[in-house]
């Protein structure tokens, strides 16, 4: 099929099979390898991207569902050479260890802050429930999201 969609604000037209998974399209066709595959079945959150600003599993989404959609990956978050507020908070709060969960984690947090700019700790924990981090105990991650919320203006 011909897939007509927007990736990180750029319109794209690709020839892919209708059942091609978004995770493969991003990684193999567009070289956006920040989108990670950790399980392939919606259980780990490593492949999280934004589809029309909603955190979604790229491993469970196929090309047939994507026409006209707006995709944001981790590569699309900051401006070139500059970290976004949220990315910077993850770095500075040492919320990154092996980093394999990080792109998905940041995008889930980003989606949360879009709809809830002043989340409570419980809100953050719930929003990140589908993103597994095996290295940390989530403390620094939660703090990074709280810090970003504050810096972006939604202090609570």
């Amino acid at each position: 099929m011909e897939l007509n969609f927007t990736v990180n604000d750029k319109p794209r037209i690709l020839a892919v099979s209708a059942d091609a998974r978004l995770v493969d399209i991003l990684r193999d066709e567009l070289d956006l390898t920040g989108c990670k595959e950790g399980c392939g079945e919606g259980e780990c959150g490593a492949c999280t991207v934004l589809i029309d600003d909603k955190a979604s599993h790229a491993c469970l989404t196929v090309a047939a569902q994507l026409n006209g959609k707006k995709i944001t990956t981790i590569e699309g978050l900051g401006e070139a050479g500059k970290l976004s507020v949220l990315q910077n908070a993850f770095v500075e709060e040492t919320a990154i260890q092996c980093g394999y969960c990080t792109p998905g984690m940041i995008l889930s947090a980003y989606a949360l802050l879009l709809t809830n700019p002043a989340p409570t700790e419980a809100d953050i924990r719930t929003a990140l429930a589908g993103n597994i981090c095996r290295c940390s105990g989530y403390h620094q991650i939660i703090r990074a999201v709280q810090r970003a919320a504050k810096e972006m203006g939604g202090a609570r």
Partner: protein
């Protein structure tokens, strides 16, 4: 944050400040602060490349076919249909690859181990065993071809647990060496003391199999240049030189023709110190003369790599009425899985941690590893120590109950004291702070206050019951004295004042590189931005055993610190020539070598530049450090849980970790490691288990393997006891493996406390808890 510095409640041991000879704690600029991991910007932006993200021109894609049956003989592999798929290059299997065998766990040249594995074998020993590998131009073609391979297997009877294997004897021929691998009996502590009038207690534990579940699965990019004979391997691994010996010996490649490079690692916890992916990739690269890439699926990462073994253990003791154990006897059966790999060593090494928190006058240890048709057992954070302490701590809880003692009191009675000798090794435990961990912990946790509050809560009856538990544990900091442990470091001073460091480290994602740079920057008194350091690469970095055995900070960090001091000396020597002032009258501080009594000096960069121009010499030092100590390094964790007696669900309400660490290098990352250990340990205690189904297939999906997620992981308070050790860099001891040791016993102890139970089959899943309650109810009083 809740962690504090230097909250030790006992008098400082005579050794404790020894290492801080050059400067007081407070003037340290980097040690003890918090810095992000070296590649965190790349990881936050998607720029960091892991092995599975790497591509090179002409790269082929591999897809692995694994067995769906647990035991059998491969009669034929029919690849006709697979090979007919366009863009498929070839299929490798047992009839067209090397017959040579290897051991996935070998990490040192010449290590004596049985080589039981082939890249592809004509005998299948587990669901998940490697059968074949498709090589194709595209991942899609590789996947399609995979489904078209026809394999003819004659099934054999199978057993997925050690008990069945031992009782039935059906696996006697699983390997030429058989299925049972005993460990030589160990008697420790000399004469059996007078045991008259002692209390005899026996307890047992059954611990199910766990998976590491690193978010990044195993992956490898391998290339073979037919013109030069050079093989290059890029993978997330914990030992580039260990992997080199395995691959080079297996494929008969001279060591200098095999380059292994460590890539960004998406977590390990031990799972990337044994090698199942790389041999397949190298076989394919050699076969095609092209670069190839293989990434394991999650199912393969669960079934076809390594797991933490399932274990059965019994502990018997003779104890005095005051709770002091006089003699202890352990018997352990390790379910090795389908290949022996490290399991005989693993079973043996468990007793080497017996005296790392407690001390017992007399001990006896028996163990065996048994091969079964299960996922292969291997390294897992702690290497047997978490299992050992689970068994010991369960024993202590039982004994404390029988003797009407408080669980913390009975542990204090048996805890090793600073300067005690490790009965097993005869080496000093040095600055061990076992007792201090318990004392500080029960104060900060308000152990006795909670005990009373819980009594009041539980006495009301009802659906929810609360309990508290304590878990203790000790570990090591290196291989010493089991093996000599050494590290080589080289440092070059660049003309602009930057330091290029060359050493073999493997960052698992826990900040090894930044920790080394902090130590070096601290020692040289240079801004950390001026220190650069790469990771293991057999073509460039010095010989090293690998980043495991909790040796990295303690041994490698100390080597880095010593080498930095040597570089300082060298800078003074060079400056002495350049300035024509005796070295004894010069000092190096803040990046400048200057006369002690004032006057103009030279910056480190100027010394490097002038040495080059006037003496035709680079400012360069190298250093070999041999570690000859291994002090006690301990922790005590405290948990409060609430058990829902209707559902068997457990909520961890409060959690405190006290770590005897000597000195924290990178504070926040260290805290994150402890908190991460609690998250994994909570899973091991309550939900994570790999179990077989009727067909012999073990849990292979995260749908069925239940990790604790963000809402379920407790807030972990941390207290670091930081009073320095003798030999670690700036007094640091190990943390990464140790941190998980006390977790499971603390949580299990708390659940048993809540239910007045003695549950010993782990994990304590809701099903097990509900079944227990259905069988006899709550015995709480």
């Amino acid at each position: 944050m809740t962690q504090n510095t230097g909250t030790c409640t006992i008098a400082l041991h005579v050794y404790s400040m020894h290492v801080l000879h050059t400067k007081g704690v407070n003037v340290l600029q980097y040690i003890g602060t918090s810095l992000p991991i070296h590649d965190s910007v790349g990881k936050a932006t998607g720029g960091a490349k892991y092995a599975g993200d790497m591509t090179v021109p002409g790269m082929l894609h591999l897809a692995l076919l694994t067995s769906e049956i647990p035991h059998g003989i491969v009669r034929a592999v029919n690849c006709e249909k697979a090979l007919a798929v366009p863009e498929v290059v070839d299929v490798l299997h047992c009839f067209n690859t090397t017959q040579r065998r290897f051991n996935r766990y070998r990490n040192i040249h010449g290590q004596k181990l049985s080589n039981q594995e082939r890249v592809f074998d004509d005998k299948i020993r587990l669901v998940g065993d490697r059968i074949a590998c498709v090589i194709a131009e595209t991942p899609q073609a590789a996947q399609l071809a995979l489904s078209l391979i026809e394999v003819d297997i004659d099934p054999l009877p199978f057993a997925t647990d050690a008990k069945t294997a031992l009782e039935s004897g059906i696996l006697a021929d699983i390997h030429p060496e058989g299925d049972v691998y005993p460990v030589k009996e160990m008697i420790m502590g000399g004469e059996v003391p007078d045991l008259s009038g002692t209390v005899i207690t026996q307890t047992g534990c059954r611990l199910e199999r766990h998976n590491h579940v690193t978010m990044e699965t195993q992956a490898c990019l391998a290339d073979y240049d037919r013109c030069t004979g050079q093989v290059s391997v890029f993978s997330p691994n914990q030992s580039v030189h260990g992997l080199r010996t395995v691959l080079a010996d297996l494929f008969e490649i001279p060591y200098h023709k095999l380059r292994v490079v460590k890539t960004t690692m998406g977590g390990s916890f031990g799972s990337k110190q044994e090698w199942m992916c790389e041999p397949v990739a190298v076989a394919a690269a050699l076969h095609t003369g092209r670069p190839v890439r293989l990434s394991f699926t999650r199912e393969q990462a669960m079934l076809s790599t390594i797991t933490r073994c399932a274990m059965d253990g019994t502990v018997s003791s003779h104890a005095a009425k005051d709770g002091k154990i006089l003699s202890i006897d352990l018997d352990v059966t390790v379910d090795a899985g389908a290949y022996l790999s490290n399991s005989q060593d693993y079973a043996a090494v468990i007793c080497s941690k017996l005296f790392r928190f407690y001390t017992f006058p007399h001990a006896r240890y028996n163990a065996r590893a048994v091969c079964t048709n299960s996922p292969v057992s291997g390294a897992f954070r702690g290497w047997g120590t978490p299992e050992l302490f689970m068994m010991l701590e369960h024993h202590f809880n039982t004994l404390a109950k029988d003797l009407h003692l408080d669980p913390t009191d009975i542990r204090l009675k048996n805890a090793a004291l600073p300067g005690d000798i490790d009965v097993k090794t005869g080496q000093t435990l040095g600055e061990i702070r076992a007792g201090a961990c318990i004392e500080l912990g029960r104060e900060k946790f308000d152990w006795f206050g909670k005990k009373e509050a819980i009594k009041t809560f539980n006495v009301r009856g009802g659906r929810f019951r609360r309990g508290i538990g304590v878990g203790c544990g000790g570990h090591g900091n290196s291989y010493f004295p089991r093996r000599e442990d050494f590290v080589g470091v080289e440092m070059r001073m660049a003309e602009d004042g930057c330091v290029l460091v060359n050493m073999t480290v493997h960052d698992h994602g826990c900040g090894t590189l930044v920790a080394m740079r902090m130590i070096i920057a601290e020692t040289l008194e240079l801004p950390i931005e001026q220190i650069s350091l790469g990771e293991g690469d057999t073509d460039k970095t010095p010989l090293d055993v690998g980043c495991f055995a909790s040796r990295t900070t303690y041994v490698t960090g100390r080597a880095a610190m010593d080498c930095a001091n040597k570089l300082k000396d060298e800078l003074i020597a060079r400056a002495s020539l350049l300035l024509n002032i005796p070295a004894g009258q010069l000092e190096a501080a803040n990046g400048v070598v200057s006369p002690r009594n004032g006057g103009n000096g030279l910056s480190f960069g100027e010394i490097a530049a002038k040495s080059m121009h006037t003496e035709q010499r680079e400012v360069f030092v190298s250093h070999q450090y041999i570690s000859k100590s291994n002090p006690g390094v301990t922790g005590a964790h405290f948990a409060q849980v609430e058990v829902d007696t209707y559902t068997g669900m457990v909520e961890i309400q409060q959690y405190l970790a006290v770590q005897d660490i000597g000195r924290v290098i990178n504070r926040e990352i260290t805290a994150a490691q402890v908190q991460g250990a609690v998250a994994i340990g909570a899973g091991c205690a309550l939900t994570e288990a790999m179990m077989p189904d009727k067909s012999g297939k073990f849990t292979a999906s995260l749908k069925d393997y239940h990790l604790r997620n963000c809402p379920e992981v407790p807030t972990v308070q941390i207290e670091f006891i930081e009073d320095g050790s003798i030999d670690g860099p700036y007094g640091a001891k190990s943390i990464g493996e140790l941190a998980i040791v006390p977790v499971v016993p603390a949580i299990v102890g708390a659940v048993n406390d809540a239910l007045g139970a003695n549950l010993n089959h782990l994990p304590l899943t809701p099903d097990r808890i509900v079944a227990h309650l259905a069988n006899g109810g709550i015995a709480w009083n």
